[in-house]
Amino acid sequence: MRSMLAIYEREMLILRKRFFRQLASMSVSPLLYLVAFGLGMGRSLKVGDHSYMEFLVPGLVAMNSMMQAFAIASEINIARFYWHIFEEFQAAPISNISYVTGEVLAGITRALLSAVLIVLIAALSGVVLTYNFYFWLAVALNGFVFASLAVGLAMLVKSHSDQALLTNFFITPMAFLGGTFFPEDRMPQWAQYCLHFLPLTHASRAIRAAAFGQPLDFSSYLLLVSMGAVLFILAFHWVNRARE
């Protein structure tokens, strides 16, 4: 437990040291999307009973929390390939589960922080939605899925450039296709079927439903928990692969 907390505390100490830089970096892309898609072209658009801005904000929360949780992979790789701090963890008497849990918790914290930021930016733009327990639970589960994926992949890659490649192939397409910018039902049937396999689609659905105060679809929560658990177990097994 103490060693798991040490891993988490290290990430939080670093986050604290870079707090304002980190906040600025977290808010750049959602701010651009809000301005370009929301204020620029979305003023006159409606999606169901909601304005496009209202539709967009939960999508941005899902996308940004995914990206921030996944960004833990870059932190791990910098620690591994550049600063060599990962060797300090490998030489310490900590179990794989403590290491993965500490890093995943750090990823979830970053995801929640990014969601808070978007909620504040949206409020300043005049969009206030419902931010209840289920909204934050969906954000945390989204963080759980992508932080677990991040830790697992960070253990498998052999260089920092491999990590960038994975982001380009997995995260960027998901950011645009996972129900963030447009409703899934506007896509062709086959595409809708494919989107069901993306965790971000379920996160967007759950976050949006909670934000709109709609009845919750617990299957999305269940799917996120299941996907997160599978990825967490894989990450746990892949820690040993990082040893030479």
């Binding site: 060693s3 040490a6 891993i7 100490l13 600063w83 008497p93 040893r243």
Partner: protein, 279 residues
């Protein structure tokens, strides 16, 4: 204290360690001497859990490094060749996190940080970010961090690489003091004088195999006491002698420029492997 048998490590088709066996006793300062790529760091990485052996077994204070890895790791402190401190964190924060990783309690951590930073003489820089320290200070902080949990064995992988001679000597005296407090030390180096000055016993590692193993004194005396260097045909030729008179007679009988000096471990290494340690 440290024991390994038939330790092998291959990276693809490259055999970095070719079945080495060794025993290092409690309180001993043991040095692994060899050129770059001879397998020194690989051995330390395997013993401290950073790498998996391809074959063979190793024990630290009786704990098997693979089957009882958490117990084995608790016995070890590691100072790696690369400076691997958290640059953005302060000196105290780096030590504090290490203590936490080794399950030390808060009070114990605070006391130990205070004690160690005084010991390595940088208590006044406790709250400085690591990035503001000099290379020598960072090395000392790394040694302090490795000692945080009071390990029985301290692994030092090229601890003075890249440091200037004055700072190197300061680190040597720190290492000697640590040994005197009862800690077993396993040191890798390619600095001859470091091994000569510090080590109780030395192993020459060459191409993944132990080429020789003894005390520095015995290894050097096996070759002679005096070494006579002479440059002939653009090549350095060295002859070894038991006493100085014999060396002087040799000089008197020949023409040319000679240089007489004491035999060192480099001479022994070259005699055994045909290579220089710094190659």
């Amino acid at each position: 204290m440290i024991r390994f048998e038939n330790l092998r490590k291959t990276y693809g088709h490259v055999e970095a360690l070719k079945g080495i066996s060794l025993h290092v006793g409690e309180g001993e300062l043991f040095s692994y001497l060899g050129p770059n790529g001879s397998g020194k760091t690989t051995t330390i990485k395997i013993l401290t859990g950073l790498a998996v052996p391809s074959a063979g077994d190793a024990w630290i204070h009786g704990f098997h490094i693979e089957k009882e890895s958490l117990h084995a790791k608790r016995q070890c402190g590691l100072v790696t060749q690369n400076i691997n401190l958290d640059n953005e964190l302060t000196v105290a924060e780096n030590l504090h996190l290490h203590g936490k990783l080794f399950q030390m309690k808060r009070k114990e951590r605070a006391e130990r940080i205070h004690e160690l930073l005084h010991y390595i003489e940088i208590a006044d820089r406790m709250d400085s970010p690591v990035k503001s320290l000099s290379g020598g200070m960072k090395r000392r902080v790394m040694i302090a961090r490795a000692l945080m949990h009071s390990p029985r064995v301290l692994f030092l992988d090229e601890p003075t690489a890249g440091l200037d001679p004055a700072i190197r000597r300061r680190i040597w005296s720190l290492v000697k003091n640590i040994q005197q407090s009862g800690t077993t030390i396993f040191l890798t180096t390619h600095y001859i004088e470091e091994a000569e000055f510090l080590a109780d016993r030395v192993a020459f590692l060459n191409e993944g195999k132990i080429a020789a193993l003894d005390t520095p004194q015995n290894l050097m005396e096996g070759l002679g006491i005096w070494a006579l260097d002479r440059v002939a045909d653009q090549e350095m030729q060295t002859s070894f002698f038991r006493d100085r008179e014999e060396a002087n007679r040799h000089i008197a009988a020949r023409e040319g420029s000679f240089s007489l000096r004491r035999v060192n471990l480099e001479d022994v290494f070259i005699a055994i492997t045909g290579k220089k340690v710094m190659e």
